[in-house]
């Protein structure tokens, strides 16, 4: 877990902040509230990657993701005085970002298919199994965006927060029970759409790297 307010691990998205992050951020927030606008750059640098990646999961469009993240930072800067210090800065920031992404994507939606239009590829590529798996994985990720509103966002946030139910619920501002119910329904819808996911598929590509990262995360903790 990073202990520096400035990102120190390129390539990794840390959606969580430890106590030292919070104390560092309190100091930075105090500076910004005291009129030192330039101090906000530390917050931007620290949180740009998680916020952009979170936005990416909402729209799967890189340019739009950066626009949304920028808007989230501006909204956070404007509302900095409203951050109640008892909750962590990251929870507050992600909550603002989720609101911005939700609102902006409702105002100008990204191009989406309905869930019925998303099909499970039945070996569309014959080159090799890895390519097939990659295509399927991407189809599954895009299918999340085709879910009804009430199931889409819980799924996005749950996996963005690395399956941390409490963090996802806090970001959405809903009780954990509600989050759990919506996740179950969303996952059931995805499984209906992709029945082959159940057990017959081989490990998705990158599972080796997944395991490596799991180990790395274990080391971090």
């Amino acid at each position: 877990m990073p202990t520096n307010p400035i990102p120190s691990a390129p390539g990794r998205v840390s959606a969580h902040a430890g106590p030292s992050d919070t104390s560092a951020e309190i100091a930075i927030v105090d500076r910004v509230l005291g009129g030192d606008v330039e101090a906000f750059v530390v917050i931007v640098e620290r949180w740009q990657k998680p916020l952009i990646n979170m936005a990416w999961r909402y729209c799967r469009d890189r340019g739009r993701a950066e626009e949304l993240a920028q808007e989230a930072f501006i909204r956070a800067w404007r509302g900095l005085g409203q951050w109640r210090r008892e909750s962590s800065f990251s929870t507050w920031l992600f909550s603002i970002a989720a609101n911005v992404y939700r609102t902006e994507l409702k105002r100008i939606p990204s191009i989406q298919l309905s869930l019925d239009q998303v099909t499970e590829p039945s070996r569309p590529f014959v080159h090799d199994a890895e390519l097939d798996g990659a295509a399927r994985d991407e189809a599954v990720r895009r299918a999340v965006l085709a879910l009804p509103d009430s199931y889409r966002e819980p799924l996005i946030l749950f996996y963005f927060h690395e399956m941390d139910l409490a963090a996802a619920a806090a970001t959405m501002g809903i009780p954990e029970g509600t989050m759990k119910a919506r996740l179950s329904r969303g996952r059931a819808l995805l499984r209906q759409r992709f029945p082959k996911l159940q057990d017959s598929l081989p490990d998705p590509p990158g599972l080796a790297s997944v395991r490596k990262i799991e180990t790395a995360k274990g080391d971090r903790q």
Binding site: G81, R141, R191
Partner: protein
């Protein structure tokens, strides 16, 4: 696009515990094994530029949006004139009405109120319409003018 993979498996926080959700779950792995974007080189500068712009603008950090007095003044003036005319008409009407006439209570009460029928029958409806229709029509016209003026002023002006 720079990308790498991130994921984690925390099976104790699984959203449901139905048999088909038992680990390992391909769905979890796919959704956890997500591409990671790296911010473009100018992202921080772009955000800070936007923030500096807003910081330089008046009342950017806090405070309510200032009331658009310039746009509102014609509407307020029209409303004030309409109210003044209406008040004058009411006063004139009241003064010109014979106090012995029943027109002092010129309201067509609904039947379900069960007011005495003698009251209704005693109302001079022609006089009632003459003294009330004018102000009512005038008020309607005034309202319409206000709405039209406001719409005209608002047309094509972006909200800031």
């Amino acid at each position: 696009m720079n990308e790498d993979r991130k994921t984690n498996q925390q099976t104790d926080n699984r959203p449901d515990s139905t048999p088909d959700d038992s680990a390992p779950d391909n769905l979890d792995r796919i959704l956890l094994t997500e591409d990671t974007l790296h911010p473009s080189s100018g992202f921080t500068a772009s955000v800070m530029e936007a923030i500096h712009e807003r910081a330089a603008a008046p009342s950017s950090m806090s405070g309510p949006i200032p009331f658009p007095w310039k746009q509102a003044i014609p509407g307020i003036a029209a409303l004030a004139i309409a109210i003044a005319i209406l008040v004058r008409l009411i006063v004139t009407t009241v003064r010109s009405t014979d106090p012995t006439a029943q027109i002092a209570r010129p309201i067509a009460w609904p039947a379900w109120l069960h007011l005495n029928s003698s009251f209704n029958s005693s109302v001079d409806w022609s006089q009632f319409l003459r003294v009330q229709a004018g102000p009512a029509l005038l008020a309607l016209a005034g309202s319409w003018v206000c709405v039209a003026v406001c719409r005209r002023l608002a047309a094509g002006r972006p909200i800031r």
